[in-house]
């Protein structure tokens, strides 16, 4: 009985916090629409990490991702007066980011392959390895990250953005459809095609395990 009460209380607290954050964000958006750059920069502080990581996973180049993130916020700043307050700011911002990153990917000349496995990630990895409490675990985590990033490389930009929004931004299909401005069926179809590619690229370890178990 006490457990149920505790969980209900914690759920209520979470909802209250979310509502407060949401109303605070709405206030910042309204102030930004009146031209208040400080309020907009508060929104930047709140959303820069997810937008930067979305750009990074989409573009796979740290410098280009930083540049794209800056451009996304600049576009949002220029167009914030067009934003309708009854919509979700995050959906609108993700739409700008998704369109911008997809457009950048399409503009890349064919054959250009950027990778974070190079010096930048190496430096970052080296630093975090040195700082980590358990270097071995950190090493395996980074290895796994590298593998997943490489697998994401095989997805089409349209599939990649949907995988990104589904798994990393944890959006529902309906929210994704709003962001990418596509029908729900298209969103699902692109996601399942993307998952199939990821299964092929990332599920090889399991396949090897299965083969070795069968061989015994």
């Amino acid at each position: 009985m006490e457990n149920i009460l505790d969980s209900a209380l914690s759920h209520t607290r979470t909802l209250t916090t979310q509502n407060a954050e949401s109303s605070q964000e709405a206030g910042w958006v309204a102030a930004s629409q009146r031209g208040d750059a400080v309020s907009f920069n508060r929104l930047v502080l709140k959303w820069e990490r997810p937008i930067y990581n979305l750009s990074l996973r989409m573009l796979r180049d740290a410098d280009e991702a930083a540049e794209a993130t800056q451009e996304v916020f600049l576009l949002a700043f220029k167009g914030i007066r067009r934003f309708r307050l009854d919509a979700q700011f995050s959906t609108w911002l993700y739409r700008i980011a998704a369109n911008h990153c997809t457009s950048r990917l399409r503009k890349r000349p064919p054959g250009v392959h950027l990778s974070l496995d190079g010096s930048q990630e190496g430096t970052e990895a080296g630093q975090s390895l040195a700082a980590a409490e358990c270097p071995e675990r950190e090493f395996f985590r980074q290895e796994s990250d590298r593998k997943v990033r490489s697998a994401l490389e095989y997805l089409q930009p349209e599939q990649r953005i949907i995988v990104e929004l589904k798994f990393f931004q944890e959006m529902t299909f309906e929210q994704i459809a709003l962001v990418v401005e596509a029908p729900l069926s298209t969103v699902k179809s692109r996601l399942y095609h993307g998952l199939e590619i990821l299964k092929i690229r990332l599920g090889r370890g399991v396949a090897r395990d299965q083969a070795s178990t069968g061989g015994r």
Binding site: G35, A37, F40, N41, V44, L45, E48, R49, P50, I51, Y52, N53, L56, R57, A62, A66, T69, Q70, F73, L74, F77, K78, R81, R82, E124, R141, S144, D145, K147, V148, R149, A151, V163, K166, F167, F168, F173, K188, L191, Y192, L195, E196, L198, K199, R201, L202, G203, G205, V206, A207, Q210
Partner: protein
């Protein structure tokens, strides 16, 4: 519901995304319990998804703040920045302008400005400008009279102008002669002064040159006498040294002769 392996494999990712109806999910689970190959397929998906979900976020390299001057100021931005009342007013003005233009085009509006006269018409073409009728005057007589007047006026003006020109030339000649005389006097004076100065300079230069030549000659003479005295002294010294050496040689020779004579004794 009985599923084929192909259907089951298509449904596996949908089940993982909670995109199946309960009955479909039940049928899939039943199939997976029986079919090891499809079960393996499901494990592949689960493994891939679990790997994707473990991908960690990277920290942002910097903040991405924006600044008010980056907003830009295009026409659209300017319109968007207007208050609703101004926006409504500017929209009405734009619509009004377009409407007037459309009405004018529809009514085949024509407009002409000719010799300070403005004319316009709706629909009908504007009448062609008719030249004015001839006035009832004798053009030839008027022309002759005007020509005569102009010639008389021209003659008078030409005579006045010629007189003025003559006066100017006379004045100018007089002025030139006076000026010329003054210049000539000044030039003559300058020439005389220059000649005098050149002669003085030549005399001074000649005197200076003679003086310096004498000085040089005297200095050379003194130096020559000193050199001669020195040479003489040296020669005397050398002669003295030669005599001394001769004496020494004689002494040595006599000593040698004495030594050579010793065994004979």
């Amino acid at each position: 519901m009985k599923l084929t392996c192909e259907e089951a494999r298509n449904w596996v990712p949908r089940a993982l995304m909670s995109d199946l109806a309960p009955a479909e999910e039940q049928a899939l689970n039943a199939h997976l319990a029986e079919c090891a190959a499809c079960g393996g397929e499901q494990r592949l998906y689960i493994d891939a998804l679990s790997q994707v979900r473990t991908l960690s976020d990277s920290p942002v390299p910097r903040h991405f703040f924006v600044y008010p001057d980056e907003r830009g100021s295009s026409v659209m931005e300017f319109l968007r920045g207007l208050t609703p009342a101004w926006r409504l007013a500017s929209s009405l003005a734009a619509v009004g302008t377009v409407a007037v233009f459309v009405v004018l085009v529809a009514a085949r509006f024509q407009f002409r400005a000719e010799q300070g006269i403005y004319s316009f018409s709706f629909g009908r073409p504007l009448p062609v400008a008719v030249p004015a009728k001839d006035p009832a005057v004798r053009i030839e007589a008027l022309r002759v009279e005007l020509t005569g007047l102009l010639e008389a006026r021209s003659r008078t003006e030409r005579a006045e102008w010629m007189n003025a020109l003559r006066r100017e030339i006379k004045e100018s000649n007089r002025y030139d002669t006076r000026q010329q005389r003054q210049w000539n006097a000044a030039l003559a004076s300058l020439e005389t002064r220059l000649n005098n100065r050149m002669e003085d300079s030549a005399v001074a230069l000649t005197a200076g040159m003679q003086q310096s030549t004498n000085n040089v000659f005297r200095a050379l003479q003194r130096q020559r006498q000193q050199d001669l005295a020195l040479t003489r002294t040296r020669l005397e010294h050398l002669a003295t040294q030669g005599e001394l050496k001769d004496q020494e040689t004689d002494e040595i020779l006599s000593t040698l002769l004495q030594v050579a004579r010793l065994p004979e004794k």
